[in-house]
């Protein structure tokens, strides 16, 4: 319903061997970047440069799709990205490298949005937030939504001191402007990189509230994905599970939500270990 065009860099796995792009009008081939190519490097390592941490594939420095130098702000994020590259076997499966994709998006900003545009895009999801948009029938599903989603809405209302509510109307919930303002100013406290991650998680889960639940460590990724897919899970319980579709989508959503959440935390952390002296 409220789908939006995925960012340029979200690559879907190809159903057939990559390399054949779609044929445009007049018979010319339009460019489609390959979703898989052979692993061409032996060693992956990290080094610290002027702009941040860099990834080295053998002697070459990793670059973004727009040919910028690939730099990340924290060492932990660099290690995680390096691990993604190192775990590729014979072929590089770009569609499994979610952290790399997120870094590329943050560095290139292909949709060319500034901070306020990103925040507004995120808060806009609140109008059609999945967990505020309720059904009236079947009664069992309505009951399930009430039992599973109401506590999360209540948590968000308490945590952010706002009114959200839920609705069975086709127009969706009526979110007061003050609520939106609160979320806008809250999101403004995150840096640009973290915001890219937050907007990504919201787009994947189709819910701002569930995403904030993840960012605030109130629920785990598995729980957030379950709540996002509540209706699917209900139908699976009723009609049965289809592994090549349901489990496939479940794993993909979990991977993306986990990557986005980790990305946000790794971009906004400032950890320091205080060593206390032992007192006798």
């Amino acid at each position: 319903l409220w789908g939006r065009f995925p960012p340029v860099y979200l690559l879907r796995p190809p159903p057939v061997a990559a390399g054949n792009g779609p044929v445009g009008p007049g018979g010319s081939r339009t460019y489609a970047p390959p979703a898989e190519r052979k692993r061409f490097y032996q060693n992956v390592s990290i080094s610290q440069g002027e702009g941040g941490y860099e990834i080295n594939l053998d002697h070459r420095k990793l670059k973004t799709p727009q040919a910028r130098l690939f730099t990340v702000p924290t060492e932990a994020l660099a290690i995680a990205v390096a691990t993604e590259w190192d775990s590729q076997k014979d072929t590089i499966k770009f569609y499994t490298m979610h952290l790399t994709t997120l870094c590329n998006t943050a560095l290139d900003n292909p949709t060319q949005r500034n901070k306020m545009q990103l925040i507004r895009a995120a808060v806009k999801f609140l109008d059609t937030d999945t967990i505020c948009y309720r059904v009236e029938e079947p009664a069992a599903l309505a009951e399930l939504q009430k039992n599973e989603w109401d506590p999360i809405v209540a948590w968000a209302e308490k945590r952010y001191n706002v009114t959200i509510g839920s609705s069975t109307s086709i127009l969706g919930p009526n979110i007061p402007a003050s609520t939106k303002e609160t979320f806008i100013s809250h999101l403004a406290s995150y840096n640009m990189w973290a915001l890219q991650g937050i907007e990504y998680v919201i787009t994947q889960l189709k819910s701002l509230i569930l995403s904030m639940g993840l960012i605030d460590r109130h629920i785990t990724v598995e729980k957030a994905v379950l709540l996002s897919r509540l209706e699917e899970e209900y139908q699976i319980q009723r009609w049965g599970n289809v592994e090549w579709a349901h489990d496939y989508d479940l794993c993909e959503l979990r991977a993306r939500a986990a990557a986005g959440t980790l990305f946000v935390h790794l971009c906004s952390e400032s950890s320091s270990v205080k060593h206390k002296l032992l007192q006798d």
Partner: protein
């Protein structure tokens, strides 16, 4: 706060995932920066005088999230390989599905 379970369990599962993920160069997985970083982080936060240490919980949540990421990526890749990784069938195979055989044309087509 999210329900996470025992940190030891998360750590062991995470290290197991790392072992499964490392397969590129044949270097032992204990040698990788990720392994060392995770162990160092867990060790640094092990001893704390507080009962409810916020930094510890943050680290545990991060570790659990990373574990979810590694596990889901591996499972997704396996599912893709099994169900969507085979590509198209050749014309011979398609004909064979309904019991036909393609004709042999020694001079080529047309």
């Amino acid at each position: 706060m999210a329900v996470l379970g025992s940190p030891l369990r998360t750590l062991r599962a995470l290290l197991r995932e790392l072992r499964q993920a490392s397969g590129g160069t044949g270097r032992p997985y204990r040698d990788t920066p990720a392994y060392r970083h995770i162990l160092a982080a867990f060790r640094a936060h092990r001893v704390t005088s507080e009962k409810l240490c916020r930094a510890q919980q943050e680290l545990h949540f991060q570790a659990a999230t990373y574990l979810c990421l590694l596990r889901s990526v591996r499972e997704h890749a396996a599912l893709h390989q099994e169900y969507h990784g085979k590509g198209e069938r050749s014309p011979e195979e398609v004909a064979g599905l309904v019991g036909f055989r393609l004709p042999q044309q020694p001079g080529g087509k047309g």
